[in-house]
């Protein structure tokens, strides 16, 4: 965490009664309203300002920069927000901060922690990272105008959980012969250069190398087919499925090729079967692992841009 990370030290006003829901415009100088997620619910009672948040969280749920998470209720929906300083989340500061992976990580983890807490208690529609409004009134307007969209999303994810499945090529089958130094300079199998036939130690080496590449290409294809089968089988069990892009090895920390980075929205009754399918596909070709349960991030993708009709993608 760097010194300009969203730590509580940079947030001038400590938690106070001012964190309670405000009935006015909700717009305060220097403060933005960070939206985490929308959940079903009613307006809190006046003597219980955080009553609109899921039971158990009460007023102690903290979000980005340590800000208290509070509800903004409207029409059977609750927007879960916290105040953030615009000297960090204003357009120009944000542009700078987004170049700083430590800052991004701090915000992402704080966002995720809030969403996790909410999703553990009730249906939750997470909002894309860094969605900031100038005041509570804007958030209320959002809930008014997009009520039906949110209701549709929440109905779809209610009672279901998202699971992630990542499948990697098994290293031991992937790299049977070559040394690490060869690996680095080796082109992908499909681009192996054409080498001359004939005698000589160089040609023999090239032939061996070609056979080795061909063998590994076969293994790769077999593993990729298994990954496709796995995704299809999981998709049949899931209410909905989606593929994320394979993760960059520099970020995943694993050098093996990722063949599947899937997300699946699963009914609880199918979770056991789901886990069994993943286990059955972890074999000598594939190393498949489950992540989650996740809040339904991957299945609440809806673009509520004002110039479009929206609609679930």
């Amino acid at each position: 965490m760097t010194d300009h990370a969203p730590a509580g030290t940079t947030r001038p006003p400590p938690p106070s009664p001012a964190d309670a829901p405000r009935s006015g415009s909700g717009s305060r100088p220097g403060q933005g309203v960070y939206l985490y997620a929308v959940t079903p619910g009613e307006a809190p009672y006046a003597d219980e300002p955080h009553g609109g948040l899921p039971g158990g969280t009460r007023g102690d749920l903290r979000g980005v920069g340590g800000g208290a998470v509070r509800p903004i209720a409207r029409g059977g929906l609750v927007a879960c927000v916290s105040d953030v300083p615009l000297d960090q989340f204003g357009e120009e500061p944000l542009r700078r901060h987004l170049e700083d992976l430590d800052w991004v990580e701090g915000v992402a983890r704080a966002h995720h922690a809030v969403v996790e807490t909410l999703a553990a208690a009730e249906p939750t529609a997470p909002v894309r990272l860094v969605t900031v409004y100038t005041g509570d009134d804007q958030v209320r307007n959002l809930l008014d105008r997009r009520h039906d969209d949110f209701a549709e999303i929440l109905a779809r994810v209610a009672g279901r959980r998202e699971w992630g499945v990542k499948a990697y090529l098994r290293r031991e089958t992937a790299r049977p012969a070559a040394t690490p130094s060869e690996e680095r300079s080796a082109p992908s199998p499909a681009r192996a250069p054409a080498e001359p036939e004939g005698g000589g130690p160089g040609a023999a080496y090239l032939r061996r190398r070609k056979e080795s590449l061909r063998g590994r290409e076969d293994l790769w294809r077999a593993a990729a087919e298994r990954a496709e089968e796995l995704h299809a089988a999981l998709g049949r069990l899931a209410v909905a499925s989606r593929r994320h892009r394979p993760q960059d090895p520099r970020l995943s920390g694993r050098s093996e090729s990722m063949l599947l980075n899937g997300a699946y929205l699963v009914d609880p009754a199918r979770e056991e079967e789901f886990a069994a399918v993943v286990a059955a596909h972890s074999d000598r070709f594939l190393d498949a692992e489950i992540t989650g349960p996740w809040a339904p991030y991957s299945f609440t993708m809806i673009d509520l841009g004002s110039d479009r009709d929206g609609g679930v993608r």
Binding site: E42, P54, R95, H112, A121, P123, R175, E289, S306
Partner: protein, 97 residues
């Protein structure tokens, strides 16, 4: 509140051994890359409603791409690109040996 919401995940309730083995990690132990997969390519996008343009996803996309491309290596990593299924053809070099 809706009492029919999902109860918190607990190992006792886990329906299968694999799921039980995975469990729910505390948020601070979840891999950042798994979080970013979801936070940058999932969730509700409300671009048109924000007065501040800071929720413009293009801004996040461009900045992160530049960040990860410059800091982590020469090849840009695009966490917000097209889903894998739409890009597989001709992408084999992503799986270099």
């Amino acid at each position: 509140m809706t009492p029919d919401g999902l109860p918190p995940f607990t190992p006792e309730r886990s329906p299968g051994r694999v799921l039980a083995a995975e469990g729910r990690l505390p948020p601070e132990r979840v891999a950042l890359v798994d979080i970013l997969d979801r936070l940058l390519a999932g969730g509700v996008v409300i671009a048109g409603d924000i007065v501040l343009s800071i929720a413009d996803i293009d801004l996040v996309r461009i900045s992160l791409r530049a960040l990860l491309g410059s800091v982590r290596g020469t090849e840009p990593f695009d966490p917000l690109g097209q889903p894998y299924a739409e890009r597989r053809e001709g992408e084999d070099d992503r799986y270099g040996w």
